[in-house]
């Protein structure tokens, strides 16, 4: 069966009874069976759970009234750091190789209540730590546009799955760019909501003050649809916002007129290290928004050059505390050759965690340790305040800020694995939104000569997620980049 590519059309077809949820689910599972092996986008495929769920939706649909569910019958994939009751959830780590959560994350409950069918768990960097999906205990994910390149990370499996058309929607998590950067490198839409917009309950914590769950989709409209389902207050997450959830569908229903919208351009950040082709695509995108009526305004984010070191101090400090729970006692891998409990902790953690996770736990433990706390951790938190103030100031004169999402297009597998600092620089334009808690989106804005996707990022004011979606939608309407699909994987394999 030829599935429509977008979630809204699938939902409408199921609701009209032109196709059943089971047929849609089988088609998605077939696509995954063919399309996933060269990509390794999925860490696990939930055949039985998905088909049972789809059958249940079809049974409900047999009644007089088709349930009015926004994602009725829509197949979705989840990054494997979100807990799914009864389905192995590993965070792509060896330490959780056989872990079966006893509960569902809040986003899982909300997706299923909205009629979505979860078809599998996607590969990621271990505990979401990385920018290439190479730090997975289950092998790297490959980029559907070029199989010798990374999909970005850490939510690379979710990005690749949507880019290759295996699922119309997927969830990722974004701590420093882990939704937006892979969305850019895979040529799809990826949205990091405002901090607190989406419950983190059931998300395996990496850096709690920065982590946020958000959607991947082939269009801004679909991303808005999925965000509307997962957003909202959750008593199980004390940091989730009690603010009312706006109508995100209305935000993307306009005709793309940007008159009256002011878009900030922090050109001082683009002087070095940004690929020429990325810069050209960015400049062209800014002109598109100007043609649609936007006013382009220069802005300065004075402390953004320090955002990467601030991020890596704060994120690793929080990670070192969050990952203390993996100790071989209550869940996960346990070294079986220890004679004391202390040795058991050390060996279980030393063998269960991969290298990048250990590197970050070490860094985080160091910056929190006696004698270094003030110089690193507290200092980074103070600079974080200055970074937030820079955004606050910029947002007095503009409505959104536009930047490239990533300074380069997709890089080759293995290219940056030996140099952590080089890998960390992949996040130079994305970490600011996490440090300041702001909503930010990446949307496709062009290709390099080698036909690798380039992403454009819009960042908005705190809790103005709808404005970000509105501007991104206007840009998307004015261009055709989001409609481009990668070449057939089979033709790449035979090259």
């Amino acid at each position: 069966m030829d599935l429509p590519i977008d979630a809204q059309s699938i939902r409408d077809a199921v609701a009209r009874r032109t196709v059943s949820a089971v047929e849609v689910c089988r088609a998605a599972l077939d696509r995954i069976a063919t399309g996933n092996p060269p990509l390794n986008a999925f860490r696990a495929i939930a055949h039985e759970r998905a088909l049972a769920r789809a059958a249940e939706l079809d049974a409900r649909r047999e009644g007089a009234d088709v349930p009015d569910l926004p994602l009725l019958g829509v197949p979705v994939a989840l990054k494997d750091n979100m807990c799914t009751r009864g389905v192995t959830t590993t965070a792509s780590s060896r330490i959780l190789e056989d872990y079966i959560p006893p509960y569902d994350a809040t986003v899982v409950e909300r997706l299923e209540a909205a009629g979505a069918v979860i078809v599998g768990k996607t590969n990621c960097d271990e505990f979401a730590m990385g920018s290439s999906t190479e730090n997975s205990a289950y092998g790297p994910t490959r980029n559907p546009w070029a199989l010798d390149r990374t999909p970005g990370g850490s939510s690379g499996g979710s990005a690749a799955a949507v880019a290759a058309g295996l699922v119309p929607l997927a969830l990722g998590s974004d701590t420093g760019g882990s939704i937006r950067q892979p969305a850019a490198l895979c040529g799809v839409v990826g949205f990091k909501p405002s901090y607190g917009r989406v419950s983190r309950y059931g998300l395996m914590a990496f850096a709690s003050s920065l982590d946020q769950i958000g959607p991947f989709a082939a269009s801004v409209t679909d991303a808005a649809l999925m965000l509307g389902v997962i957003a909202g207050h959750d008593p199980c997450d004390s940091t989730s916002s009690p603010a009312a959830v706006p109508d995100f569908a209305a935000a993307v229903a306009g005709d793309g007129d940007l008159r009256g919208t002011r878009i900030g351009v922090p050109r001082h950040l683009f002087r070095e290290g940004v690929d020429r082709e990325v810069m050209q695509a960015y400049d062209a995108a800014i002109e598109v928004t100007r043609d649609r009526g936007a006013e382009i305004v220069d802005v300065v984010l004075e402390h953004s050059p320090e955002a990467i070191p601030v991020y890596y101090v704060i994120a690793t400090a929080e990670a070192s505390a969050n990952l203390a729970r993996y100790d071989g006692v209550r869940y996960g891998y346990r070294a079986d050759d220890a004679t004391t409990v202390g040795d058991m902790y050390d060996r279980s953690r030393g063998r269960g965690f991969g290298r990048e996770v250990k590197r970050r736990i070490m860094l985080g433990t160091y910056v929190l340790s006696a004698g270094y706390y003030d110089a690193y951790y507290r200092k980074a938190q103070q600079v974080r305040t200055l970074i937030r103030r820079d955004y606050d100031r910029a947002f007095t004169t503009v409505d959104v800020i536009a930047m490239p999402t990533s300074p380069t297009a997709a890089f080759a597998l293995g290219e940056r694995t030996e140099d952590p600092v080089q890998m960390y620089l992949s996040d130079v334009f994305t970490v600011g939104a996490n440090l300041a808690g702001l909503p930010a989106i990446s949307i496709p804005c062009g290709f390099t000569q080698a036909r690798l996707p380039i992403g454009l990022q819009f960042t908005g004011r705190f809790m103005e997620d709808a404005t970000v979606l509105r501007v991104a939608h206007a840009y998307e309407r004015a261009t055709s980049w989001s409609a481009e699909r990668p070449p057939r994987l089979t033709s790449q394999l035979s090259r």
Partner: protein, 98 residues
Amino acid sequence: MSDTFSRADVERVARLARLELTAAEKDLFARQLAGILAYAEQIQRVATDGIEPTSHAGDAAALRDDIVRPSLPREESLAAGPDADASAGLFKVPRVLG
């Protein structure tokens, strides 16, 4: 602050973090953490006198009423333990005193 990170530093931090590292990892991390910390030094250039630290970026965490709710049944809580004794209701570990 020193911009080198010795093997002894690695061992001290690994003890705090409860991580057993191989000899190769100790050498690798000494080199790489020195590089990362040297890179992170640039935040020292920023003037921050009197600036409040930001610990998280959302609204202030909201307190809720303390309502008694059912928690996970004991068997389910124990189910993922690598050496749990469901009938006794315990996670077993190697001896605590060496």
